[in-house]
Amino acid sequence: MAPEDVPAIASMFQRILRKDRHAPSPALTAYLTRLFLDPPNRDPHIASLVHLRADGSVSGFMGVLPMPMVFEGRRLQAAIGGSFMVEGYEDDPYAGARLLRAFQNGPQDLSLTETANDVSTAMWRKLRGVILPDYSLEWLRVIRPAAFTVEMAAKAVGAARLVSPLARPVDALIRRAAPHAGWAHLPATALRGKVLPSADADDETSATLFQRFVQSHRLRPDWPEAELQRMIAESGRKANYGGMVRRQVSSRSGTPVGMFLYYGDRARIGRVIQILALPGQEGAVIDSMLADACERGLVALRGRTQPALLDAMLGRRFAFVHAASSIVHARDQSLIEPFRTGQAFFNGFAGESWSRLLGDRFD
């Protein structure tokens, strides 16, 4: 990928991934330039890839973000592939195959993605990528069922929000009839006063907590401090998802036991990007996050699973669906094992979900 490729990449990104026929804004073009030509954790040997037609024009792209990792004291280089897109399939049906293969044949120890759609997943599978079910599920916790239903309808037809005032009395009725947490609702009173306290975490505190809480994973990111700070700063803007809520969860004695990061506004569905917890404290951190979302009036929370969180989620009435796949590929098969056994920290900040490409506007 070279600087002169960016306008074509931005145009494809807008049309194919954002499904918007308008020309990409200068802000989007600038962000793509910065993210993929000067990414956090930059490695001179790992670069984003473009596919060129015979005339030299861009017909495909694989955005690549380097991520240093460590596994039992051994330093590794991982590369996260995303924004994978090809246009003109009829002209060159093998372009996507060449791009994905070129990515996997790169110098990195681990090739990763957390955003593979069905077609991309099938291609990864053929190249001996390992699909990771425990990292590939989208979880959902409904808080206010009537308002949640309106929000889901509004995603298809925006005018559905006009009936949202009608949802409030319905949800109030449900709360009165069933004051305890259920599969389809979660009254704020069910958690109020029963969860560990949380407090807003600033960028610096968040960086410290990230570094601390990933330590319990055998295979984990090894972010340089400045690079993690940049990722945290960029994650602050996801206008399409709503306002950012990032809070540190502490024990009764004041010791930090976890952190959660989500985006969302009152009467909307919140998007959780990361939940961090000390081993054994996952449930307490999740409860604290749910209580926070209830108090803020969100209608539901959704996010991506991590194996370390699944056990705690099972008893808390979460629903799970598959939306996109998290996949790992490595020439050294011993590096796959910690992913299979859920001992790798992957998804969220150990992925591409922190970037503004997911959830932000570039007007």
Partner: protein
């Protein structure tokens, strides 16, 4: 090599893209793309098969219709790679 390159490629296509239906085996010059037999996913399967079965290495830039779009082209490609590597040519 006991079996010919062509017959092995044909057998692979039947097994993996035709669900074992030998009555649909494409003619040597039939386009695998135009007949929707091999798409962007299937081509990766084909590349892995060629590399492992015929001990050749396929460069990303070689994954093009000129090399992969028919049984005849695949055979020519494999034989060319084997000749370049100093391996014995298989029967056509």
């Amino acid at each position: 090599m006991s079996a010919s390159v062509k017959s092995e490629i044909r057998a692979f296509i039947v097994e993996n893209f035709l669900f074992g239906d030998e009555s649909q085996v494409p003619a040597d010059e039939t386009s695998l793309i135009e007949t929707d037999l091999v798409d962007s996913t299937g081509i990766l399967e084909m590349v892995l098969f060629l590399e492992e079965r015929f001990a050749i290495s396929v460069a990303d830039a070689e994954i093009v219709p000129d090399n992969f779009d028919s049984v005849a082209r695949l055979m020519t490609f494999v034989n060319g790679k084997r000749a370049a590597a100093g391996l014995a040519l298989a029967e056509g």
